[in-house]
């Protein structure tokens, strides 16, 4: 038995194992290499440019400036960054609007006034990002945001709460209303994935404040993305929403199916907590 085998034996007895780096019985060559791995850094990353881009996307979404980021894959990031620079004007516009509007999207996360990047620096960052090599598949963050309202702050919902009867209501129209992009090409896989991710994010956000709407969103996900990449998470959210609504029989039945299929998955523990009445999501 090698030294490495010996050190792994302690894993199965329920005790916190010792890191190989801290284990003098582990092979020295292994420990040396692991030390190189543990102390390695990510070289070549322009963190400032990425932060600027992130702010741009967040503010563009939060300020309902998504159209600025919808223009296309290759220039979406740049346009989103443009949205960051324009957010000052947008924030002022929002601030002067009638405060009672029901479809108001709270601009709380990243008002432009808080950006500590000088406009010139931000512009440079735009150029840097534009020059940076990007993968053929654009980041979700830089992609179109068909439903900008899902990324509002986790503030109390501005729309009326859903009905109390068990039947889930349709997703409120103001949440999904948006002009369909007048594209000449069919929806790409990336666009579709983004829509799916946004729908799941919407359900996740609604779970804490309005499980009825969360349930409706998961049902919508099931209809539109029955074989989507986020089916596991959507089904887990559905079960958690059912449990929060007190529909424990439905939740238990769906949880049984879920755990058979995804018992080792990332959401299994959350599902188990939900059907045990211990879902602590806010």
């Amino acid at each position: 038995m090698s030294e490495s085998d010996i050190t792994t034996e302690s894993l199965m007895d329920g005790q916190e194992p010792v890191r190989w780096l801290d284990d003098p019985t582990a092979a020295s060559g292994l420990r040396t290499d692991l030390l190189h791995g543990a102390t390695a850094t990510a070289g070549g990353v322009d963190y400032g440019a990425t932060l600027t881009a992130l702010r741009g996307v967040i503010t563009a979404q939060t300020g309902a400036l998504a159209p600025a980021a919808i223009a296309g894959k290759s220039i979406g990031l740049k346009l989103a960054l443009g949205g960051a620079l324009a957010i000052g004007a947008a924030a002022a516009w929002w601030a002067t609007r009638d405060d009672g509007a029901k479809n108001t999207v709270a601009v709380k996360h990243e008002p432009a006034a808080q950006l500590d990047v000088e406009p010139a620096a931000a512009t440079k960052a735009v150029v840097d990002v534009a020059r940076a090599p990007v993968s053929p598949t654009p980041a979700v963050a830089a992609d179109p945001i068909p439903e900008p309202s899902i990324d509002v702050d986790p503030a109390p919902p501005t729309e009326p709460t859903g009905p109390t009867e068990p039947a889930e209501p349709p997703v409120p129209s103001e949440k999904v209303r948006k002009p369909k992009p007048t594209t000449d090409h069919p929806e790409s896989d990336d666009d579709r994935f983004l829509r799916e991710a946004q729908l799941v994010a919407q359900a996740r956000k609604q779970l804490g404040t309005n499980p009825q709407q969360a349930l409706a969103s998961t049902r919508k996900h099931d209809r539109e993305f029955p074989k989507g990449a986020l089916v596991e998470e959507a089904r887990a959210l559905e079960i958690r929403a059912l449990a929060k609504l007190g529909r424990m029989d439905d939740a238990q039945r769906k949880a049984d199916d879920f755990l058979r299929e995804f018992g080792d998955g990332a959401h299994a523990s959350a599902v188990r907590r939900a059907i045990a009445g211990d879902d602590d999501v806010q």
């Binding site: 090698s2 490495s4 085998d5 792994t8 894993l11 199965m12 329920g14 916190e16 194992p17 890191r19 190989w20 780096l21 092979a27 292994l30 040396t32 290499d33 190189h36 791995g37 543990a38 102390t39 390695a40 850094t41 990510a42 070289g43 070549g44 990353v45 322009d46 963190y47 440019a49 990425t50 932060l51 881009a53 992130l54 702010r55 967040i58 996360h109 090599p133 990007v134 993968s135 053929p136 598949t137 654009p138 979700v140 963050a141 830089a142 990324d151 986790p154 896989d189 994935f193 994010a201 996740r204 956000k205 990449a229 080792d264 998955g265 990332a266 959401h267 299994a268 523990s269 806010q282």
Partner: protein
């Protein structure tokens, strides 16, 4: 006091928004993405995507999980999704300007050894399945506890143990093979020494 970043105290219930998380943990996430096998070209996009997802989830609230393992779960998911959707040409990897770099070394020889060691680690990591890799990286390379990993990934701690156990066996097996191989750098070093010897 325990902190969640360079200057952010870990107060239970305190909230970290996406930018605060980014300032504290962007280097960790970038490094983690590379250790998960993400290509350097993809890292800026993935990095942004991870923190955008963090924003969509309403930021991080200090609780049982740590921000690093919470972000690691997002990064793991984002990187997995990207891997499924992107097929990159192998030669693209050679053009990556973004990559893991070993810590600074005192001498060129030590630097070469560090590069070789890091390359062996990356290749051994490549032999692991993604589920095992994420646990191994978090535990062995990032120093997270099994409990923190379990909470961050939302899996039972027993699953962390079993995945770590399996990952260690596989990693050690592949690493042992790699350590026995002559590396490119070693060959280059050997050629360099031969040339230097001929010129002396």
């Amino acid at each position: 006091m325990q902190t969640v970043g360079p200057s952010i105290p870990a107060v239970i219930g305190s909230h970290l928004d996406a930018e605060a998380l980014y300032r504290a943990h962007s280097e960790f996430v970038a490094r983690f993405l590379l250790k998960l096998g993400a290509s350097g070209q993809d890292v800026p996009d993935l990095l942004q995507e991870v923190f955008l997802v963090a924003h969509r989830r309403g930021g991080f609230i200090m609780g049982p999980a740590k921000p690093t393992t919470w972000l690691a779960e997002i990064a793991f998911r984002v990187a997995s999704d990207r891997r499924k959707k992107t097929k990159r040409k192998p030669e693209d990897a050679d053009t990556d300007a973004i990559a893991l770099l070993p810590a600074a070394s005192a001498t060129p020889g030590e630097a070469a050894e560090a590069r070789q060691g890091l390359a062996r680690v990356q290749r051994a990591l490549d032999s692991l399945t993604s589920d095992k890799r994420v646990v191994f990286v978090l535990f062995e390379l990032e120093g997270e506890s099994c409990d923190a990993i379990a909470k961050g990934l939302g899996i039972p701690v027993g699953t962390v143990y079993s995945r770590l156990h399996a990952a260690r066996r596989e990693f050690a097996r592949v690493h042992q093979q790699l350590a026995a191989e002559p590396t490119v750098d070693k060959a280059v070093d050997a050629r360099g020494k031969a040339i230097a010897g001929a010129g002396a």
